[in-house]
Symmetry: C2
Subunit: 140 residues, 2 copies
């Protein structure tokens, strides 16, 4: 039940972007340094975020990446789903056909409740929430 580094790194990278409010471009190199992420690995994490329309990018001098939407519109469930592939703790929730017992499996119902609990939390938190927590952490 561990989160992959993709999800962890990706979340931290987006938080970093959200902290640069005005849609300012931030070079991947800077994100990599500030969040301790290997640059070539970060490049692979950013790519799906760009394709999903969460992040936009510009190349060349002064280039970098930034959020497309304001932080309060980026919900974490969307992010984790994208980076992790799924929020389900077992495959049979997304692909019932892979298990012959899906239709009448009691444990499957259990894992479904776990998934809903996870989604519930991640649906309710946005990048803006993380930004505010960070500010509270930094200043008082």
């Amino acid at each position: 039940m561990k989160l992959s580094t993709r999800a962890r790194y990706g979340t931290k990278a987006l938080l970093e972007l959200a902290l640069h409010e005005n849609g300012e471009l931030v070079p991947l190199k800077e994100i990599a340094q500030r969040q301790d992420i290997p640059l070539p690995y970060l490049e692979h994490l950013i790519s799906p975020l760009v394709q999903a329309g969460i992040v936009r990018s510009t190349r060349g001098i002064g280039g970098g990446v930034s959020l497309v939407k304001p932080p309060h519109q980026v919900v974490l469930s969307e992010v984790i789903l994208l980076l992790e592939g799924s929020l389900a703790p077992v495959d049979c929730l997304n692909h019932p056909e892979t298990c012959p017992h899906s239709g009448h499996c009691v444990t499957r119902g259990l894992w479904n409740e776990v998934r809903e609990a996870i989604s519930g939390v991640l649906d309710s938190i946005t990048l803006q929430d993380l930004v505010e927590r960070q500010r509270r952490e930094d200043e008082p």
Copy 2:
């Protein structure tokens, strides 16, 4: 964020035991067959459950395993914690010393909320609940 087969198989095995109410001994071979678990693998899953006092075992002819406590006293969080090693989606929750930022990391707080959501569900469900769901599934 996938559950290991250890946790999935283990839960199914315990449910199987809970369905044999009276503390009746069930051979591992039977559990393995009914739940589609490789027998030698199941043996390794049962072992920690025996050591944790959740299951007792008897060898020899007519031997097998059974629950130590009645199903309503076996909480799933205990089981999953045992088989999975942890309910935390990231290691830094259990071992803050492994990450230099633990003390002031915003994402860590987020993952902690996820863990609490998972625990909340698993704390509230016992083997007896699963048994009842199974009965409801079987009979009407």
